[in-house]
Point group: C2
Chain length 311, copies 2
């Protein structure tokens, strides 16, 4: 990971001073570097020898960073990882364009590795991520979103990059199709678990741990799994509450405590965690064919780490 | 070009209905398809056989379309090619995300062609384009921008994609380095000429031909070559006018006629066209090594077409 960090920093440089300023603000803001770590781990699990894993891991982190910059513009977010979002400091314009720059840099790194298959996987991921975000934009204000529809959004906007980050490890090592599919499945399900825990934390986490305020999703009118569950389990009157606050965008700060009460009443947060554990279990089982390998054990620990963030 | 159009339309599809809506609004809005045409022409000039040129040409047009979607958000533009900009119909959010989707699709197309060298050229272009836009953002309100600084912006935000579109033709045909460099040089200088003519037209073109209003650059406070020239040739009082209207953003509709008067007084529009012709001449000469080829003659005609738009 030290080499990934060094490589990342070497590629945010530009004669245009604003680019490294904006990029490094976010890159050095204490992200967990979970996605690049997955690429290194699956490459190690595949006995990969070379430096392609470091470059692909860095490309994955750049893609993730570009997405965050654009997301914050799309959502109008003010905070990111406990700091002001880049758009609050340099404006929406710079956030859009520096995101585009990082995406271009990500593809340059992938080209350097020279694996067309890895390029195919990651460019497909770039399209699917954007597709998931547009889907969320279209569904954002619809409290009648079904759990299946919401999961389709999560697969696109979050899990696809986890899946791609894991799949490229065995791919550059030239491992058999079966192992590539196993790594992809692990990543996809870990990514879903990760997002669902995030959704739950938004209503229950402590601010310092979260890096943003409790209830941000509520204030932004985002329909996430806790709300989908509470809406479906609620009375007509409760549904009217969710419609007023989220669909009509009339949420006031004082509404958050009522939202929390309804979520608790219906066990929506606990059940969101339970759903996350289910996907975590699938991720673990996907690694079954690597049983006994130390790297596989470490990847299983990641599942535990991700799902236990909820406590 | 028929095959390019068909391929483009086949790749804007998505289950997420908003994506083809937004993408096709812009793609079908009567753009000149100049950039993909350059890829087809330089591939033909290189005796390329295969369908990679159609895919790369489509990828180039997708990169261009993604840039336009993001530009209109960054500039807050209301019109594009005589129609409402996508952001006015679907919002800034959708424009950012659909741009990201198209960029992902562009890279998928390039991967299908399988040329790592073409991928390297076009991913480098994606970074440089974004860099040029950020540079423009930083320089946008500075009336003291020098002609050289402005040309650096133009190379990045416009000419780089022309250069890359031309370079990939001989690259996928496996032609010698000398021919690749000639095609790149042609594209780069044609791109600069194109942008300078555009800058001149913004102050002098007829609205129907322009697809946007005369004086849009002025109203948006953009420093383009006509202004750079008029500022440097102007009196202290005139510089104060440019500072007030562009740098301080206090331009009123009534100021446009004064701006036009100053531009005319200093011959700034005519000289912008003269500068464009200079780059057009470099583009023509770059093709010298292909003398006698019908495709080279056609590419020379493109230079004439681009620079004579000014009349």
């Amino acid at each position: 990971m030290g080499r990934v960090n060094a490589f990342i920093l070497s590629r945010t440089g530009s004669e245009v001073a604003m680019i490294p300023e904006v990029a490094n603000h976010l890159i050095n803001s204490g992200g967990k570097r979970l996605r690049p770590m997955l690429t290194l781990a699956t490459a190690a699990l595949s006995d990969y020898r070379g430096d392609g894993d470091v470059k692909l891991a860095s490309a994955v982190e750049f893609m993730h960073t570009a997405t965050l910059l654009h997301d914050d513009v799309v959502d109008g977010s003010e905070m990111r990882r406990g700091k002001l979002a880049a758009r609050m400091l340099w404006g929406n314009e710079a956030s859009v364009l520096v995101g585009d720059f990082l995406l271009g840099q990500a593809f340059k790194m992938m080209v350097e590795v020279g694996s067309l298959e890895a390029l195919r996987i990651l460019s497909e991921a770039a399209s699917v991520i954007a597709e998931g975000e547009v889907m969320q934009l279209a569904a954002a204000k619809n409290t009648a979103t079904t759990e299946d529809e919401y999961l389709a959004v999560v697969r696109g906007k979050t899990a696809e990059l986890f899946a791609a980050a894991c799949e490229v490890g065995p791919v550059i090592a030239g491992r058999p199709r079966e192992e590539q599919a196993a790594a992809r499945s692990y990543g996809m399900n870990l990514g879903i678990a990760f997002q669902l825990v995030d959704d739950a934390l938004d209503y229950g986490g402590r601010e310092a741990k979260l890096g943003k305020k409790v209830g941000d999703d509520f204030r932004e009118g985002k329909i996430t799994l806790p709300v989908v569950l509470a809406y479906r389990r609620g009375t007509a009157e409760e549904r009217a509450f969710w419609k007023r606050t989220l669909e009509n965008g009339e949420a006031e700060d004082s509404d958050l405590s009522e939202a929390m009460r309804l979520l608790t009443k219906h066990g929506a947060i606990d059940d969101t965690i339970a759903r996350a554990r289910h996907y975590g279990a699938i991720a673990r089982d996907a690694l079954g064919i690597f049983r006994g390998r130390a790297e596989a054990e470490a990847l299983v620990d990641v599942v535990e780490f991700v799902t236990s963030r909820a406590h």
